[in-house]
Symmetry: C2
Subunit: 136 residues, 2 copies
DNA sequence: CAGTATCCTTAGGGATACTG
DNA sequence: CAGTATCCCTAAGGATACTG
């Protein structure tokens, strides 16, 4: 066969798919928040737990919904309450997230890098203290 | 305890550490290239296999060296040959990369999204064909 | 061959204010 | 409460040319 110029299309690659769908700056936290809240979290609870803006939160939740990781329910009332829950697909990503967190935790520890204490609470590396984990 | 304003420092979080160190646009490919080349790859071999610019490649390799994932050797000669190899630490990341690739491959397949054929060759989902995988 | 050096474009995120 | 709408800023990456 002669010279071929066939090259990678990185945009059709599973790594990039996962980076986009699951490993942005906020998505692992949003997903894990739903796990720790026993499956449902409302909009303002995300805000209380993370230094994220409304805009970025809304964007991320929309993308995750479009990717089939979560779904949204609105309970009527005044004011109405919107809850976000994990789908089966979203739940299936948890072990992978934990594996990534574990590898990162070990690498940072080995290198003597400081690790956020609240993150450790979220992930079971430190005892949870809800007085610290929620802004009121 | 009264109201506390303690919040996350996402920059001290293992997810972000891993995203930065291992999951950029190119790093999984650079790392896997070294695995498939039996541990050593020289600068231009990366260029031949990926649509990456010299500048971005150099930046990524430097960062990976600083993070202890790879190391560099220069063999004297005309021209000199520079080889990059995985460290123990870099090699230890391979199972995690495979797990992420697998999850992404399955998710994309389930959703009917097209997957890059060359990437599949790299990851053992399709038989390797070096005539396709190298630009000459 | 194995890089630097410049310059440019874009996506992701941040701050703030407004609305049903 | 649960979002939109604006505007801004920076970091990652791309194109191209140059060098020991």
């Amino acid at each position: 066969m002669e010279n071929t110029t066939m090259i990678f299309d990185v945009n059709r690659d599973p790594y990039n798919h996962m980076s986009r769908m699951l490993f942005g700056r906020w998505k692992p936290f949003l997903l894990m928040a739903m796990v720790f809240d026993e499956g449902k979290t409302n909009f303002s609870d995300f805000i209380k737990q993370l230094p994220i803006s409304h805009k970025v939160l809304a964007e991320n939740l929309k993308a995750m919904e479009a990717d089939g990781l979560i779904y949204r329910t609105v309970a009527a009332g005044t004011p109405p309450r919107t809850e976000y829950r994990l789908t089966e697909s979203g739940l299936s990503m948890v072990p992978l997230l934990r594996a990534v967190y574990d590898a990162g935790w070990k690498d940072m520890t080995a290198k003597g890098m400081p690790i956020d204490a609240l993150g450790e609470m979220w992930h079971g590396y430190r005892e949870r203290d809800n007085r610290l984990m929620y802004r009121t």
